[in-house]
Symmetry: C2
Subunit: 446 residues, 2 copies
């Protein structure tokens, strides 16, 4: 993309309404525009990041054997009356009457609707195990929306629902989700720690939240510092192998890591003192096993091998897709702006032309741009008539992890400059070498 043809409305001033870095930087970098309290438009740069995150979530869900569907945002009140949650859910539920006076709502979550789909179509244990998931917009009418997309009212979320015959099968689905989530966050360059959590209004025996450590997090968390060293890395996982999946879960959940809701001082004190940490965390996902809570109230039963009928064992598992954009920035920024991890960056590399209009610089930039596009990469070329300082400031603000700077002095020696946004380090090399380096950097992310 050439910046002269793009829509990137960066702000020079810090927006006064933003209390935290991610909100401020998303507004300043032209990623979002607030339309109402807690409701945002995603401008081109923000939309690109949202889609990259969505894509990673899809890929990892599909890798785990889960099947994508899409449910409507508008739901009938009747479904929620069946489960008993229509009355239980407070004013956070956006309630609507259609033109015929029928009660509807904007789905804040989808346990009822997915259970309705299941009971309409599945009769036998032979169809199990099955996990259906969607990535769809949801609405919670927060009384005080804040922190930008981190606690918005309309938000984009992956919600997956597992259906199994037995409790053991359902716990395997739970574990499968945990591992797929670990992999999802790692691909985004995030450390998200699974922590024992409280089951809250959805109810359930077993639940973990995934938390990203950040000073602006809403939850207080307590953990053994060794837990932040754990990584899944690039090991191959066979999601059908229960022992393998369970072993990974054990590896990631044995060390102490809890939110304030489940924190237990006595157990925590068994952790060696120098590894005992407390910090703030941002919740970016949660997995639940809740058994037959919805299948019983809504009559979602399956036939067992012996011919009897039992309510299906269920779990629900969520990743906050739009919230992750904010969480990623909270975990990756400095005074100058955002620093995107390679896995989610809106553009792979920025090209800065130091002397727009100079024939040699322009043609070198054009050639660089063409070579990157040909390699399947997505560069952003700042081809505006602006001084170098302004171009650098924009690149630093929007946070592309790599920048190639092209100027007359370097070109005379057949060099361009490749700069890392994170380290700030620059290296001079030929344009061809820079392209080769960028290709190599992104190879693991494609």
């Amino acid at each position: 993309m050439r910046l002269s043809r793009y829509f990137l409305p960066v702000l020079k001033e810090n927006p006064s309404e933003a209390q935290i870095a991610s909100h401020r930087l998303m507004l300043r970098a032209g990623m979002i525009k607030q339309q109402q309290a807690g409701i945002y438009s995603w401008l081109p740069l923000g939309y690109k990041v949202l889609r990259r995150i969505e894509q990673i979530v899809h890929e990892e869900q599909i890798r785990a054997g889960h099947i994508p569907v899409l449910m409507p945002t508008m739901q009938s009140a009747e479904l929620w009356q069946e489960s008993g949650r229509y009355d239980a859910y407070g004013p956070e539920m956006l309630r609507i009457k259609d033109r015929h006076g029928r009660d509807m709502l904007y789905g804040p979550t989808n346990e009822e609707m997915i259970t309705d789909i299941f009971r309409a179509h599945v009769e036998s244990y032979k169809s199990l195990p099955m996990t259906l998931y969607q990535i769809q917009w949801k609405f919670r009418d927060e009384v005080r929306p804040r922190f930008g997309v981190m606690r918005g009212r309309e938000f984009f979320m992956k919600d997956g629902y597992s259906f199994d015959l037995t409790r053991e099968d359902a716990l395997h689905a739970y574990n499968r989700h945990m591992v797929s989530y670990l992999r999802t966050y790692e691909r985004m360059g995030l450390t998200a720690i699974p922590m024992r959590a409280d089951s809250g209004p959805i109810g359930g025996d077993n639940t973990h939240e995934f938390l990203v450590l950040a000073p602006t997090g809403e939850s207080e968390v307590f953990y053994d510092s060794n837990v932040t060293d754990l990584t899944l890395g690039d090991r191959e996982v066979d999601y059908d192998n229960r022992e393998e999946v369970e072993a990974i879960c054990k590896e990631f959940t044995t060390l102490y890591a809890r939110t304030d809701e489940t924190h237990d001082e006595a157990i925590f004190n068994e952790v060696p003192e120098e590894r005992r940490k407390s910090a703030r965390g941002i919740e970016v996902g949660q997995i639940f096993y809740f058994g037959t809570k919805y299948s019983e109230s809504m009559g979602a039963v399956v036939q067992t091998p012996d011919g009897s009928k039992v309510p299906v064992e269920m779990g629900s598992h969520g990743i906050g897709v739009s919230r992750l954009v904010g969480a990623l920035i909270e975990a990756n920024h400095d005074d100058k702006g955002i620093i995107w991890p390679e896995g989610v960056t809106p553009f792979h590399v920025g090209i800065v032309n130091l002397k727009q209009g100079d024939a040699a610089c322009d043609s070198a930039c054009d050639a660089l741009y063409a070579a990157l596009v040909k390699a399947g990469l997505d560069p952003l070329y700042d081809d505006r008539n602006e001084r170098a300082g302004a171009k650098f400031a924009t690149m630093d603000l929007i946070g592309l992890p790599w920048r190639i700077t092209v100027g007359p002095r370097g070109l005379a020696a057949n060099k361009v400059e490749l700069t890392s946004r994170r380290s700030g380090e620059s290296e001079e090399m030929s344009a061809e070498a820079a392209v080769a380096k960028i290709i190599e950097i992104y190879a693991p992310h494609r």
Copy 2:
């Protein structure tokens, strides 16, 4: 995907509520489930088709230089009061009060919000031309929703908005949209004819609808039969070249083609009688040039080169993404089921194992499946313990354009059978040759 692990709830009976083929077949093929009148869940097969269509629309919009954004579904009433449409829009607008009693609505279209984004961020003609588009869910509270996703209440639509300094520039944007739409529909295997249309409540000087001929269409259309022979084909289009783009539009709009709203009997009668046709059509898109209707009422002005300020020239341009799923089926089906064009098929090829459990058949199917996946294709392997007839009926119903049948008799001669869903013709060949043929067939669609 192995069918034994998929969720494909096909129905044996014709659903009584469905009046037209696409609605009936989408229900029977397990593509959708109705949740309320005019509101559907997209089950795995339907979701895949919806995403393929979405992807083609994105690709062609980006090729034309248009920039994706995403606006929220919930809009504030205030914006619509500014344009005057809050009162003008009838009961089709879903109106909502949030917990603080503020008036909101579920966006049926987005002229107001995009104009709000524009006026907040764009000040100079130097930022123009600009076209922003989104693919997002919308809601129209139809009094009598019908025909499945063809006239639903919650629907998925691409809506694009062009901003230009002059009327001439805006007409180029109009033309650019027309050409990009022609290309979009052709890639889906659809013939959609641009027809002069009535501007209706959005208002405007210049508007064309794109209609797919189908007996179940809601509009009556009149056309010169030669118009159905026009194709864009694989010519390269330079979307910045006004003359080239305009010439293509002329080529596609010179022959008589109008909906009943703009039909003119006198002009129609100048068409040679044997080419004069009337038929039914399904609207799958519409482009509008409406000038300064919204920019004036909402104060979206830009500075001109001479320093004065003028309201920006606008157009809005839509493609019915969820509706296209229905339209594609209306145009591509037979008594046995759907016949997907290669460009939008949910799976590229079906594999039918005639003797599940037979070691030779199973391993031949596994190898075939692996070879197709390795080639980047997406096969659906019917690995269920069902008789051949049931497997063939399912494949015919869900409409994959190609089927590879593997059975013991063929395998003894080292052959599998490749069958075209459209022609019904089969050919025996080696498994390797079948894979090569499928790769070749899909090469233009990747």
